[in-house]
């Protein structure tokens, strides 16, 4: 009992409860016939939002106003460049990955340079940067659709021990970010910055270094996601990142991380990502039209937020 109440106090538990409820409802509707395929698909697609969400979560941890809107453009550019560079050759897989990561590094550094040296609010800085990055992708892509290398394509669409490979990669990245956030000094520091940047600076934390590292990490994670997503879907498209803008922010908040920063958690990203995909597939299963589907998605998101919230003034 004690353990149960402890669990119910965790901010991320609600996203899992909601995800499980929707999973059950969908399974019941189809009479249990789709259990395996639904779970597989959910894990596969949720993996992409998990990878992007992890980076966005770290940025949001930095405190009010910190958010990275260049995520979709980074996904697109990284996917486009990596695929064109690999040109379908298996030998270039590693080179493609390294180039993707390098793109993330550069975008992250440029993002923070705008924020730091031009003192542009992060929302506008990353937005402007996303315009530039998107243009680069359009210019580089030239409407071509290059197929990913055979080995990479089959890796990203297959499973190991019943788990989709993309989900396994997301799991490893999540463990890494969890260690960074919960166990390392860096995590303590970015949480401290998010709670009170001034106090953090006074306490001798290298605020600028931490923020730079966070923005770079977010861009790199987005770039890795772009690399995987392009390989998974058999080619890069110029709008492939678009849906991850709102998605990355939504999974962070539904996952129970504080929007005002300073208090984040990794498990919530998983719960929220699974939840978001399950909502879509549930509404698809029920055969609603596009309009009703959108309305239901919105109402469900808001209900989860309201259910997980506390009234003003209540003590924790």
């Amino acid at each position: 009992m004690n353990r149960l109440t402890m669990l119910s106090r965790k901010p991320w538990i609600w996203s899992f409860v909601a995800a499980a409820a929707i999973w059950l409802v969908t399974i019941l509707f189809t009479g249990g016939s789709s259990t395996a395929s639904l779970s597989q698909a959910t894990l596969t697609f949720a993996a992409f939002s998990i990878i992007v969400g992890l980076g966005q979560m770290l940025v949001i941890t930095l405190g009010p106003g910190n958010v990275d809107l260049s995520v979709p453009a980074t996904i697109t550019l990284s996917g486009t460049v990596a695929l064109k560079l690999m040109d379908g050759q298996d030998g270039m897989i590693l080179v493609g990955l390294l180039v993707s990561i390098a793109i993330g590094l550069v975008i992250g550094i440029l993002n923070y340079a705008l924020i730091k040296f031009l003192r542009i609010p992060p929302i506008i800085a990353t937005l402007s940067m996303s315009f530039l990055v998107q243009s680069c992708a359009i210019w580089y892509n030239r409407g071509l659709r290059v197929k990913p290398p055979e080995a990479l394509a089959s890796f990203s669409t297959s499973s190991t021990f019943g788990l989709p490979n993309t989900a396994i990669i997301a799991l490893f990245l999540s463990l890494g970010v969890w260690w960074l956030l919960d166990r390392s000094l860096f995590g303590r520091w970015i949480s401290a910055i998010g709670q009170n940047a001034f106090a953090a600076r006074m306490a001798g934390i290298a605020v600028d270094g931490c923020r730079l590292a966070t923005y770079v990490l977010c861009a790199v994670l987005a770039a890795i996601c772009g690399y995987l997503l392009a390989s998974f879907s058999g080619g890069a498209a110029l709008n492939m990142g678009a849906e991850y803008l709102l998605m990355s922010i939504a999974v962070v908040v539904i996952g129970g991380s504080a929007v005002a920063g300073g208090n984040s958690n990794v498990p919530g990203i998983w719960g929220a990502s699974l939840f978001m995909f399950l909502v879509v597939s549930m509404l698809n299963t029920y055969g609603f039209g596009a309009g009703v589907r959108l309305i239901m998605t919105g109402l469900i998101i808001i209900s989860v937020i309201v259910a997980a919230s506390r009234p003003t003034g209540s003590t924790r």
């Binding site: 009010p64 106003g65 809107l69 705008l114 031009l118 003192r119 542009i120 609010p121 929302i123 506008i124 800085a125 937005l127 402007s128 940067m129 996303s130 315009f131 530039l132 990055v133 998107q134 243009s135 680069c136 359009i138 210019w139 709102l246 922010i249 939504a250 908040v253 539904i254 929007v259 005002a260 039209g289 596009a290 309009g291 009703v292 589907r293 959108l294 309305i295 239901m296 998605t297 919105g298 109402l299 998101i301 808001i302 937020i305 309201v306 919230s309 506390r310 009234p311 003003t312």
Partner: protein, 314 residues
């Protein structure tokens, strides 16, 4: 005298960037320096300016509306579908939507919710409603609205007149009225507003409703210009409106906003698009150049701010 100059400074910088950009456009395309030219340049600025004012009101209470684009699209769809034949139904729907915004403001305050997420969720709802009302692009603009938007007042183009009227009205409401002071006070320190005996809940609801009213006007103005609507017609307004407020000298927190600056910011953003087409930049780089202009304007602001601060110090 000194005091008035420093009071105008936040608006001076956005205005300056607008003038510089306008000069650049005139230099490249002298024919734009005419009644028709100006009207064409700034035509689409009217709905953007209205949406920017709406976003600014939300930002004045320290919130952010990520559903602005979908809400303006929704309002445009309602206007294009119902306004010509059943004006009463259209007005009822739009009023109800404003009511929903008021309720959102109250719920956000009551449960201490992050506005970003609630409006994010609402963006799905508005988008869904827009699709239900208008599944395929179409509809038509009511005659009076069309007439209003393409009216040709003497000497000054309609787009400029409308922008000035919007800026003036918003300035009166937000900067001069008691209500405006209270709303900005909420952004500055909501607890002190509450201690002074005002209902934070009612104020927040009213601020959201006012913002929704401006957003509805933005949707209607858009239909008046384009004569038809589509569920995705204004999606980019979400980011445009935020950028417009910031360009106009507004800030994300603290209730520091400037309605006149916001309208100027919206005009600057619109002009940036025309400027790029005059530059004959390859379409690949159009979006990127827009980002670059945004960065340059904000960088200039920093430089000017710094030099004015140094003057004060010396």
């Amino acid at each position: 005298m000194r005091k008035t100059i420093s009071g105008f400074l936040p608006i001076l910088i956005p205005a300056l960037s607008l003038v510089v950009l306008l000069a650049a456009v005139f230099y490249m395309q002298p024919r734009a320096m005419s009644y028709t030219g100006l009207n064409l340049l700034f035509n689409l600025a009217v709905p953007i300016a209205l949406a920017t004012i709406a976003q600014m009101i939300i930002m004045a209470v320290n919130d952010l509306d990520l559903s602005m684009g979908t809400f303006v699209s929704f309002a445009a769809c309602v206007t294009a579908v119902y306004m010509p034949q059943q004006p009463l139904v259209a007005c009822m729907i739009l009023l109800a939507a404003i009511g929903v915004y008021a309720v959102l403001g109250i719920i956000i305050t009551l449960r201490d919710l992050p506005s970003i997420v609630v409006t994010l969720g609402m963006s799905f709802v508005w988008g869904g409603l827009a699709v239900l009302i208008l599944p395929a692009p179409g509809g038509q603009a009511p005659v009076w609205l069309r007439a209003l938007m393409i009216a040709k007042p003497p000497f000054v183009p309609m787009a400029i007149v409308a922008s000035v009227v919007i800026a003036f009205l918003a300035h009166l409401i937000i900067m001069r009225s008691t209500f405006g002071v209270l709303v900005r006070g909420l952004g500055g320190n909501s607890r002190s507003v509450a201690r002074a005996g005002w209902s934070v809940l009612a104020l927040k609801g009213a601020a959201y409703a006012l913002a929704a009213a401006f957003a509805v006007l933005a949707g209607m103005a858009l239909v008046g210009l384009t004569t038809s609507a589509d569920a995705n017609i204004a999606l980019r307004y979400t980011l445009l409106s935020i950028a417009g407020v910031i360009l106009g000298g507004g800030e994300f927190v603290g209730g520091r906003v400037s309605p006149i600056g916001a309208v100027i910011g919206a005009l600057t953003l619109t002009l940036a698009g025309s400027f790029l087409s005059f530059l004959r930049i390859s379409p690949d780089w159009q979006i990127g150049a827009q980002g670059a202009i945004l960065i340059i304007v904000l960088a200039l602001r920093l430089v000017i701010n710094r030099s004015s601060q140094q003057e004060k110090a010396s």
